[in-house]
Symmetry: C2
Amino acid sequence: MIVTIRDIAEKVGVSVTTVSRVLNNRGYLSDGLKKRVHEAMEEMNYQPNEVARSLSRKKSNILGLIIPDISHPFFAQMTKHMEYYAYKHGYKLMLCNSLLDKKKEKEYIDLLRASQVDGIIMGSHTMSVKEYLSIKLPLVTLDRQISESIPYISSDNYRGGSLATQLLLRKNCNKIAYLSGNLQLNMLAKQRHDAFVRQAKGKGVEYIVKQTDMNGFQYKKYENLVRELFQEHPDIDGVFASSDMLALQVVRECRRLGKSVPDQVKVVGYDGIQIGGTEDLTTIAQPIKEMGRLAVQHLLQQIAGEETPLETILPVKLLEKGTT
Amino acid sequence: MIVTIRDIAEKVGVSVTTVSRVLNNRGYLSDGLKKRVHEAMEEMNYQPNEVARSLSRKKSNILGLIIPDISHPFFAQMTKHMEYYAYKHGYKLMLCNSLLDKKKEKEYIDLLRASQVDGIIMGSHTMSVKEYLSIKLPLVTLDRQISESIPYISSDNYRGGSLATQLLLRKNCNKIAYLSGNLQLNMLAKQRHDAFVRQAKGKGVEYIVKQTDMNGFQYKKYENLVRELFQEHPDIDGVFASSDMLALQVVRECRRLGKSVPDQVKVVGYDGIQIGGTEDLTTIAQPIKEMGRLAVQHLLQQIAGEETPLETILPVKLLEKGTT
């Protein structure tokens, strides 16, 4: 229950104007009256109304964050950093999981707009470009380039794809696979795939591409995808998985099939998440913290009416560990 | 930038009252005027002001969630479910990571109150009971019993601790260890420890207890804790870790030391998170989804002024897998 100055006025038995004068320390007021008003405010736990002030300031100091699924470690880790930087600058974060549901994504944008958020960080991308352009709020996207007017933050997906594939080829893999989420989502992550295909073709090495359907992050689906891969292509000896979670499934399936990693099958993941089980995984590490920090920074710059770089592509790093 | 009816009025060149009449379809208004107002609203992307309405309704439809760290999979997974249920009931979730920093926790409560959230779910517990009691907002806590007036959601920590320890004893472990976060945090999770000690004493089996310092979830600290354990007690043959993340570190350290799991060392985790690497882990599974759902439900009941159960203790389940 929100306590307003009207409630305080009723409690003390004075007018709203009088309470307002006490609050703003305006006009002549007896010490006794001031004391009674302050005591009532304390007792009723009155808070200077941030919502009312946000109306007059036209700012809510809330940022909306729309991501596919907070339970995915990549997003959980990035969100942690976003929340940290938002807080540091006096902003709160409203969390929205789209679960890659187009309808939910759209509804969330309307909800966030109605809640007067100052801006949105968009990490879920099932809507059309037209729908994005109609948002008309400060906006930063993650890993998707919507138009030339909406800034995005990404890491160097093409280079990441090249580094991963080159490593598999350097280790003399003869038949390699690329595993990923749905490629039709029109994400910049598709460049990992493009780099993979280009490298494989360039070396004349046989390759396979497999992707999940649109409903991304379900571990059961990852499991099936990996199982299918080895059933259809038992001679695969190198796998580039577009997330560490997917790569862990590959390692697990190899263990189940009695294929030794890295001797018989080499595995490279993507993301560089810090989570149990990934310690020995060769991976392409994205600068998750820096991506989160810059997403917030560029959104705040927009909100302040400052210039914001439209393209931010951060470097990735190959971490060679036990699975290659 | 928030567009108000004042902006619309200026744009169209009419009074605020006129715009308000158009919005509420009150009084006589020419079709031409209505059309001009509606066009201006569309062009300026005016949204019926949820913030202003929340002021008059005294409701914001926002719930605050304060947890230690969203990047910890247990909280990430529970938050996913909370967000789902909040959304289903027309509420948004404001995410706050306390990082177990007492000052930040306190500041967040003030921030949330100032933002007029309708209630708070509290999963981070560094504050004193007195500070909790002064919150004076609908409140539900996770895994901590603050007072007899604040409802909490928990799972059966004592039974979880008993199940885990009994399993190690049944498997004929001779020297067992309990590993956990800091026990002084005064969480209900401490009951896992109590059950462990009681079971071990009951059977007359040698036991060790090791805990991290107050700054919980840092994987590096987990690593050091586990390393220390085996340096100081190389003859440990059973470990009960109070989280799956910690249990994974134990399995990893055993691998590093050339101790086979489960033959030489048996490992039981806690939580039942779904994350790569935990597939073969014997663990005590908490009903994460149900805990998240009930936390939201009991908070919404409080907000609606309905009766809420003060104690909610959900059952846990032993999942026996490859590490015991």
